[in-house]
Symmetry: C4
């Protein structure tokens, strides 16, 4: 959620054919992918010979932000899914120090909380959204360009897919030990291990309650994140280190306070990516049908919740530029073409001046 | 507890008919509500066209601080009540990772601790008291204007009411599952769920002990908060980010060390608001009569405790301006009208100069 | 452990009959008590009329540092003893959220850890040693004047005494409920509650092991604190806010890793003060005789351990001025009177210049 | 992991025969040991008379960095092994507050997490790698001179050896109480206590899985550490205090999420040093043969994992100077002697100019 301006302002002094927008072809590639022509690279720290002569050097600059999102989500999933795996599979393990398994439910809150925290540290350069719904809200309310959304979305889903695969590889023996070799089941099976990867709702929940539970958790998530990033509030400075720590507490809290009924997916990348992986690993079609085809709720509800949470924050507290603070909720842009043209022109001028989105 | 000066100093450069005290009518409205004529908005970050032409734009500026307090308390209650709900209702749930429910008592300490922390981040602009007793102490010892107290008080109570309603909506199926559909009971019933919302004392407590327990916890709360905000001590800079983190530890500690006997309400907004909600939701008149009409203790004791805690801090450690450091404990103002007039005049001059309370 | 220089440098600009060393009599009183003539008060934040005309105003300035130490220890003990009380007395309480009592052993680590952290915030101005053994080591290795030791010592012990009394007052009903009215027992009684207040060793420990356990924990305590305060290492800046947080982790760690065998007293103020209180409250002479008259070990071992820990740090890592870095371990001062005279004279000059220590 | 440049830049102003590279012989000794001729000592804080006349004063300057690494690892092991010892040996202890032993599995996560954090505070000056595999990766990717590796390696292993010996000395009675006097067993014995010192794999693990588990944890470790130290990312400033705190969360997470199957050694110094100690203490040859001669895996896998993790980070995210960012992965230096000579010459010039590394 670190706005890209923070990093891109660093190279506004460099002009024209500078090293981040190295060659016209590279700039074009990035523009075609929906990214800003100049990659957000801190010039002060960058190595002297950038080696854009190397093919890989060009690729990694062209895809800098998606790579960051990808790795951020991988780290988040490694710790998050890893914590569930360890607690679930080692249940009742007598040989553990303490004699009661390697961790209790609170380990899961820790795992997801610090997974998000460390994921943000890793993905810092890209914006570190780690969640398509949060990316979406930032496009909607915080002027993140819409054209970035598809690439970020893919990178985040892919991160969830790959991260959960690594967790499976690590815990494959333990899963065999727990379920039996070749047996892979989905809740409510008593030895189900599918819950390691993605979320399944508690048995007593109704569809409406499932949706509401995901919705309210996502609303809180977005509302608090916007407060934490709000420079006009107590909020954090750009690129500062309090943000990841605060996110640890926020995610820990969602796990400890709203984590039971539906498993607090609040993130399509955290739920759909690993669900796909578990399907690929042979957990069967039940990964989709379980809980009355529950799988679509953690895909849709986080978007609704994050949009609503962002709306609430902007309506009541935010004083910066937001569509919510604009006349007609910013819809004037759709209704009056001349006004839209004026706004777009101003934005282009600003972008050119700042050398950044 | 972030003093308003911190935020209001930001717009002292703007003079006369500036954008925060936009129009005479808005200034009058704010003054009539007991707030400072100018809303504490960070001009640097604010959107260019403030849209005071919109009705909502005027309302939110008029009620800026109460809105902040309201949302801060809502967030606090969501995490606090939510953590109790999850731990209480999922007790013994075999399907949880670890097989022993979704959290233990310590989850509750986490929930309230980080709820307060995140609530302060959200409510930063308003002062982030989140507790009428703390607002009261700040009026008494730290020159927060008394006329603000009623509006803050209402906003905080309403926040508690609304926040606990959202938690109920989220956990309604789980409560039905735990108590049975339509059954709602209050401790000492073995399946009581009223403890999710507000506090009930342990069975063995006497009235005096209940009062003392709430009193001592509130005393510690205020004493430590004044230490944390004391610029002359190790204390924190204005608007800094250490304060919310320290509050996490303070509230966690009160939960882990003084949280059993009476449930550490230490806040009328945290206890009375949700209690009213639980009454409205059908928990019956027992929410008032339980524990020998215990309900008035978390209403009164926090005020007594916070006043005493603030008194102790100012008597022994504080070196800044406080009635306790004044001759006759600042009572001279009541006894010598000429002196009172002089003090009031000086304060008005200072307010005008600073453009702030 | 915040060196007094940090606070006293703030008023070096004020000269002569300034407001902190207000009147000759006040300066004399402070000097006679072993404190620096000028009280460490941050002038920028101090109230305009200091009211040294009030008797209490004079007393609190005369005893500023001891008061700070006293309240710091009180806060530490409230959380520390409070956490033990809550966990011990609520053991197996079915009505707790989670159904297994109000906290587990880890609550105790949290309680002492955050108790020390918040105690340091409260006592910041005085140096925040909160532990006579640490004060002693600072006199020995860090030029804290020896004449301060007695008054700090008394304030710290008194803080332990008073703090544990408040905890008893808060938990008196719960203790009656647990042990039975009027019954107060000491380990190894199965319902012993004396362990709330001070430490008792595990049954299988030998005397030498008890001493070693306290010794090694105190050594670690001092070694790490010196590292945390070392400006030449990664160490913290003066008066900074990382120190209390780091102490939380250090004390938490001692509780989690070296807290079982003897209860990690590592502080005579934390052990002897509450032990005296528990004796006064009627726990009987067993508070002294339990564990083979164990009570002297947490009085003596922390001093030995802290001296050794400080010695290790200064021998291997510290590069600032320390007797350990001086020729003959600084003993030259005792053996060559002319050298001693020279050192003392230089120190006096420095003190006068700095207006401190 | 604090780069030495950070500390050494402090004395670049001092020239020639300065106090850190005091005498030609001292400089030679340090150079012969593979260290930079000038010891990284913060001159501003250093004592006036450096007493290089004392033999010990010369030794500790000559061996400054190895001493720091040694003590950092000792502190890490004291808390880490100590936490395992306390939880394992006090299992089911009824007299503990809470009645269920002195800590649960999560204590172990806390112990290692804060052990690493405090170890970094202690060892700050040396670089605070505390792990030969991390030192190795820094040599490979971050221009730490290779000639330092052997001495750091020895210091780290020795730290593990000594630290675990102190833990044994502290818990000897408790081990006798748990296993029986003179009996020392290794998992899978039901009363095994060898797990206090070094790691043993879970029974169901295959060799490949053991290796993979250690490998993936080490990969994560290095990947995240490089992110945390990356100035071009959200990364931390040099010598800053966020790094140790972040490491707490990282190590805690590895313990909570990847700590079960092989005990997350991820560090030869943490595993081999204590293993040697436990062998010396009489745990028998089973410390080597257990788990199918598992002992070599935590010696080799961390190196492989850290190299791979560093490679991944540099390939995808790092923009500073790294062999991975160089043409031919920096191998040109081996293939073209003239190029190698040029690079070496430039480096020497830079070293002389910076007075460092």
């Amino acid at each position: 959620m670190v706005p890209l301006q923070a990093t891109t302002t660093k190279h506004t002094t460099s002009s024209g054919q500078d090293s981040t927008g190295r060659s016209p072809s590279l700039r074009e590639t990035r523009a075609r992918l929906g990214l800003h022509p100049k990659a957000p690279i801190n010039e002060d720290e960058a190595a002297e010979p950038r080696n854009t002569g190397l093919a890989w050097g060009r690729i990694r600059i062209a895809l800098r932000e998606p790579f960051s999102e990808f790795w951020g989500v991988v780290i988040m999933i490694l710790f998050g899914n890893g914590s569930v795996a360890q607690v679930l599979l080692s249940m009742g393990e007598k040989t553990a120090p303490g004699g009661a398994g390697y961790g209790a439910y609170q380990s899961v809150s820790w795992g997801w909380g610090l997974g998000v925290m460390l994921g943000i540290y890793v993905a810092g350069d890209s914006g570190a959204y780690l969640n398509p719904a949060i990316t979406f809200s930032n496009c909607l309310y915080r002027q993140l360009p819409w054209r970035r959304f598809p690439l970020y979305f893919c990178a985040q889903i892919l991160g969830g897919f790959v991260g959960s695969g690594i967790v499976y590889a690590n815990y494959i023996n333990a899963i065999n030990h727990f379920e039996g070799r070749g047996i892979r089941t989905v809740p409510p099976s008593p030895t189900a291990t599918a819950g390691i990867f993605c979320t399944y709702p508690a048995a007593f929940m109704t569809k409406a309650s499932m949706f509401f539970s995901e919705f309210i958790a996502s609303t809180i998530l977005m509302f608090v994140i916007f407060a934490l990033k709000d420079q006009g509030n107590l909020g954090s400075a750009k690129n500062d280190r309090w943000f990841p720590l605060s996110l640890f507490f926020l995610i820990f809290g969602l796990g400890a306070c709203f984590g039971w009924e539906t498993g607090y997916a609040i993130n399509i990348a955290r739920d759909f990516g690993p669900r796909l992986m578990s399907y690929a690993l042979g957990y069967g079609p039940e990964v989709w049908s379980a809980g009355g085809y529950y799988f679509w709720i953690p895909m849709v509800a986080p978007f609704c919740g994050c949009i609503f949470g962002g709306f609430l924050y902007d309506v009541f507290i935010y004083t910066g530029p937001s569509p919510v603070n604009s006349p007609w909720l910013g819809l004037k842009i759709f209704l009056r073409p001349d006004y839209a043209w004026k706004v777009r022109k101003q934005r282009t001028i600003r972008e050119v001046e700042e050398g950044a989105v």
